[in-house]
């Protein structure tokens, strides 16, 4: 479990992370979401102790990460897949990480096998493609069989096969009891990978909860109703029952505040013939845009706020 408590980080006058608190639960995949500049990477670096928080604390499994006698087995991290010296080979890089904790060379071969890099392990990292570099970063994170896994944008630069592989990998590890924190700005990807999401905007917590909760909170849930004739009676009945009605086209109502079951019952009571009765689901992507529309640092309309 990762507990982030009132974390704040300022760089000069810039407030990168602002009074951020959230919990990453064990055995689940938590997605850290936000537009560019939202503070995702800074937050991850503070979790790993690489950046000093201006204030606030982070605990991993109840204690500060810096005190762990075997940090590699506590947290496996990939913070920047390209943060490796391009002149070394993948095997040398991984062995140098393994040696710090006296892990056997066989473990290096295992992660090379797991990440599909065994065939290119003897090549200099500088010659790697984007996707291979990403796999190497994940290999290093897995090396110590860590209880917590922190991956910053792990699917960047991966082909569809690779994206699928990362998704299966982190879901599998979570099932085995690993705490997983994965950042992304790809909402559609997170909706398939994460159990919980933490949404950041301009360094602040915008929302946190399960994927379902975030979607529900952002939209309130609505029901689309199409009728075969004018539906004034149904609309009046819906309002009388506490729902709200919006109508953008002829004989179509968008009802919020009532479930589809309730709307169906009202239709029967008013003798309205229904042609469609559809609960509207929005994607996590829509929810994300809804939640962060006031919190993007750079927007394409030319107005940077």
């Amino acid at each position: 479990m990762i507990e982030v408590e009132r974390l704040t980080k300022t760089y000069g006058d810039t407030l990168a992370v602002d009074d951020l608190s959230f919990v990453v639960r064990t055995g689940r995949v938590t997605g850290l979401l936000g537009p560019n500049g939202a503070g995702k990477s800074t937050t991850m670096r503070m979790i790993l102790g690489l950046h000093r928080p201006t204030s606030g604390t982070v605990r991993i499994d109840g204690k500060p990460f810096i005190d762990d006698p075997a940090p590699l087995t506590a947290v496996g991290a990939m913070l920047d897949a390209h943060a490796v010296h391009p002149g070394r080979t993948a095997r040398t890089h991984l062995r140098s990480v393994a040696l710090t904790h006296r892990l056997p060379a066989a473990r290096v071969d295992e992660v090379l096998e797991t990440t599909g890099l065994a065939a290119v392990a003897g090549r200099r990292i500088g010659t790697y493609s984007l996707g291979m570099g990403q796999r190497l970063g994940i290999a290093a994170a897995l090396l110590g069989r860590p209880r917590t896994l922190v991956l910053d944008e792990p699917v960047n630069g991966l082909d569809p096969d690779g994206v699928h592989w990362v998704r299966e990998l982190v879901r599998g590890l979570a099932v085995q009891g690993t705490t997983v924190l994965v950042s992304s700005h790809l909402m559609s990807e997170m909706s398939m990978t994460a159990d919980d999401v933490v949404v950041l905007g301009r360094g602040r917590l915008v929302a946190s909860g399960t994927v379902e909760e975030i979607v529900a909170a952002a939209t309130g849930g609505s029901v689309r109703v199409r009728t075969t004739e004018a539906a004034d009676a149904l609309a009046a009945e819906v309002r009388a029952s506490g729902g709200a009605v919006a109508s953008t086209e002829e004989r179509v109502l968008t009802v919020t505040g009532l479930s589809s079951d309730e709307v169906g019952a009202l239709a029967m009571r008013t003798g309205t013939t229904l042609a469609e009765l559809v609960p509207q689901h929005v994607s996590l992507e829509d929810a994300f845009f809804e939640l962060t529309k006031d919190a993007v640092e750079f927007s394409t309309d030319g107005a940077s706020r």
Binding site: P71, L99, R102
Partner: protein, 272 residues
């Protein structure tokens, strides 16, 4: 007999449990240094250049060396006259081992694995100091023997001469210290060009500037800097007497420790 057997049944798991240890860090840093081609180039050059230079020097001076004493002095000179060459090479080596961490931000991965950071700096110090001392020692001994062989007149036997031993050991010690200073400044400055420039500035420019100030105390202070003290250690005709020599060793050790301590403090505090 039962107790050890019982322990053997349960202990291996905890014995082999991965744990961060300084020995492992030294092995890791050694592997990282060996994984860079620049390390091999620089160490090979630091080993071979002095030997070649000593050979050429001895060949050109062979006729002038009349008598055993003159031959021995020429052999020592063939080793010491150009000792700035390997020194420059180990400055570059130390700097690159330090700045390699900051190339493309590799230090992120390093400090995510060793969050306390200071042990990483100390492990690098051990690796650089040992590698440079060994290479320098071998290079100086071979250089002397090559030069002495060329010069003849029994000069080879001079390898057991106290002055020769002092020069060889002093050179190895000073070069190791300078490489460590370069490593530490490389870690602080994070740029290879900047690190090399500051090391050379610290060794040669700062003492020269200070000594230009006509105040006795400043001059005495400037003489304790590693650059001036290094000349004492590397040359056969430095101030004689055990006390002065011990003082030079101490001064170089203290300054090296100070620079390493600064590097530890900066590296520990700085966001990466």
């Amino acid at each position: 007999m039962t107790a050890p057997a019982a322990r053997a049944a349960t202990a291996p798991v905890s014995d082999r449990a991965p744990r961060l240890a300084f020995g492992g860090l030294v092995a890791s840093e050694s592997l990282k240094a060996r994984g860079l081609r620049s390390t091999w180039w620089l160490l090979s050059l630091a080993l071979l250049v002095p030997i070649v230079v000593a050979l050429v020097t001895a060949l050109t001076r062979r006729d002038g060396a009349a008598g055993a004493d003159a031959a021995l002095a020429e052999a020592v000179g063939a080793v010491t006259d150009t000792n700035y060459l390997p020194l420059l090479l180990v400055v570059v080596l130390g700097t690159l081992v330090g700045t390699a961490e900051y190339e493309r931000g590799a230090v992120l991965a390093t400090f995510a694995v060793v969050p306390r950071r200071v042990p990483v700096v100390l492990a690098k110090v051990v690796v650089v100091a040992v590698a440079v001392a060994v290479v320098s020692l071998v290079s100086a001994v071979v250089s002397f023997l090559v030069a002495a062989t060329v010069l003849g007149q029994g000069a080879v036997g001079g390898i057991t001469d106290p002055v020769v031993l002092r020069v060889v050991a002093g050179t190895a010690f000073y070069q190791a210290a300078v490489a460590v200073i370069a490593l530490a400044l490389g870690l602080v400055i994070r740029s290879s060009a900047g690190g090399i420039a500051s090391t050379l500035g610290f060794l040669y420019v700062v003492p020269a500037l200070l000594q230009a100030i006509p105040v006795d105390a400043v001059d005495r202070f400037a003489r304790t800097l590693p650059g001036p003290e290094g000349t004492v250690l590397e040359l056969p005709d430095g101030p004689a007497g055990g006390a002065t020599l011990a003082w030079s060793v101490l001064a170089v050790l203290v300054w090296t420790a100070v620079v390493v301590a600064v590097a530890c403090a900066v590296v520990r505090r700085r966001d990466v």
